[in-house]
Symmetry: C2
Subunit: 150 residues, 2 copies
């Protein structure tokens, strides 16, 4: 059972930016890519999607870089994962060749319930929650001030 | 969010065999492959795994074929999906290059809880449940007596 690599990277990027408290320099997409150990081209696509979803904002020019959008620390991880993963089937019911059993399949409904339970577990968790508590400061030490390598 | 193609096929095969009530001819793996619209080579591997897990039995010779193992209608779908999917991370925390945030990551624990909620939803559902009710007879009409094409 897997989320897409795209969602994986989006969650890493959101966590990476959530540790910034406004006193640190805003990282570039290249720095963030290095910090989350992913190719820049992939991270650039993820950042574009996160900007479109209102999770990330980018400031251009001197002192510019990436940051969470204002209030984005309150965004639900469940909401974000739904946005990124969609609500398609967790198995290939309709993919060619479509499953011949799908017309009368009770499994499909059970898998949808299970998928919803997965998302519902993440609904009350916010992006900010992911870096609160003991983790936050450690993540800051891990990441901030260590220039990324592109 | 996806289960593997292997799990998808295993669930199809289990449903396909669950509609047999003992009065019909047992299908061969080739017939089952045609019935679930999957390549024979893949279904053969799935059947081998399901036999190993005690879900399916195969009788050789004249009148032989595949069937659910005795009592396998009571096997939990949640148990079967756990067996097939394993309990690895739903994202690639440890894959090379490993995620630099993993040491202090709160997300990983939340994703594990969500994964467990997914499986727990399927725990009370049995393989037999999937073909009970109105679906069962329709599946039988869909499948049984229609020779598979290999």
């Amino acid at each position: 059972m897997r989320l897409t690599r795209f969602t994986d990277l989006a969650l890493r990027v959101a966590m990476r930016l959530a540790v910034l408290d406004g006193t640190q320099e805003q990282p570039t997409a290249r720095q963030v890519a290095a910090d989350v150990a992913a190719p820049f081209t992939h991270v650039a696509k993820v950042v574009s999607r996160l900007r479109h979803a209102g999770v990330v904002e980018a400031r251009r020019g001197r002192g510019g870089g990436l940051a969470l959008a204002p209030g984005a620390g309150e965004i639900s991880v469940g909401w974000l994962v739904r946005e990124l993963e969609g609500i398609g089937d967790v198995v290939g019911c309709e993919e060619e060749p479509a499953c011949p059993l799908r017309g009368e399949c009770r499994l499909r409904g059970e898998l949808r319930k299970a998928q919803e339970a997965f998302y519902a577990t993440l609904d009350p968790v916010t992006i900010g929650d992911l870096v609160e508590g003991p983790q936050g400061p450690v993540l800051v030490r891990l990441l901030v001030g260590r220039p990324g390598e592109a």
